[in-house]
Symmetry: C2
Subunit: 170 residues, 2 copies
């Protein structure tokens, strides 16, 4: 019966104005940015919406209401987001209502994911060096890419470590 985040006026309009329009605007702007970067649309909107919520966690119904989308769309989006580890799904024991939470440190998870991509790329590029021949000009060019990607992977790990410590001491 109660709404999840703030329990105020029981009969609220079904419009996106359910939460302040400035916030809705931000959510859509951010979702647009993410979409442009290759993120699927609905996951982007759901993610942005969670990020902009005070508790950092909303129920399926909340999301549907705020974004004006069907339960099916919410379902699809949260499945995607939890697969790429950007949200956690949690179920309070003794309730069948699920809640979706943005990870404590969103960016750590995103970077972890990027690491996996880097590794696959390194693997593919390495096989390419063999394919074109290590001594050919193409071979050398591709080998350099392998070096760059490896450099990147290592440095990114160090970078994240650095971020975590600066974060901790502030």
């Amino acid at each position: 019966m109660e709404k999840s985040e703030e329990q105020s006026s029981p009969e609220r309009p079904q419009r996106e104005g359910d939460y302040p329009p400035e916030v809705a605007d931000f959510v859509e702007r951010l979702a647009a940015d993410l979409t442009e970067a290759g993120f699927p649309r609905m996951p982007a909107r759901v993610f942005s919406c969670l990020l902009a919520s005070d508790t950092g966690s909303l129920s399926s119904a909340d999301l549907g209401e705020r974004l004006l989308i069907s339960p099916a769309a919410v379902s699809g989006a949260v499945r995607y987001l939890s697969q790429v580890h950007l949200i956690a799904r949690e179920r309070q024991p003794g309730s069948r209502r699920e809640r979706y939470r943005v990870h404590t440190d969103v960016w750590y998870e995103a970077m972890t994911n990027r690491d996996a991509v880097l590794n696959r790329w390194i693997h593919t590029f390495s096989s390419g060096v063999e394919a074109v021949g290590p001594e050919s000009p193409a071979g050398r060019r591709i080998a350099e890419s392998v070096e760059f990607l490896t450099f990147m992977r290592n440095e990114m790990a160090a970078l994240m470590e650095r971020w975590r410590t600066t974060r901790r001491e502030s």
Copy 2:
């Protein structure tokens, strides 16, 4: 009249085996990886194909032959790639044949591009802090994202610098 990269048997089969099948395989594997990361298909294939070529530069006809795609598809792909600065188009004076070349340091260009994306994100997130209120929990969460993205942008710049110097001295 002559084929651009290596001038061998004049009547070659029109199949992708025009260049060694191992190379073709690598090109398709890499293109698949890039596609999975959100890169449009044809640009991914063209880019991979250029990367795997000895001269690092091919004509429109070469690309069409190797990838078995129409001139229109090549045209679209190279337009995309040059817009995101991943290839350069060059025209040898006194010829109407254009050649497309992977940039000397492919990754530098790609990272430069990523920088622009980071900047837009930082801007959007910053506007979000205002939208939800800087003192709210959501505001603090989003502000932390701004900090992280800013950290990233700066560190990435330093990282690229470091890569370039290690590269130079090897």
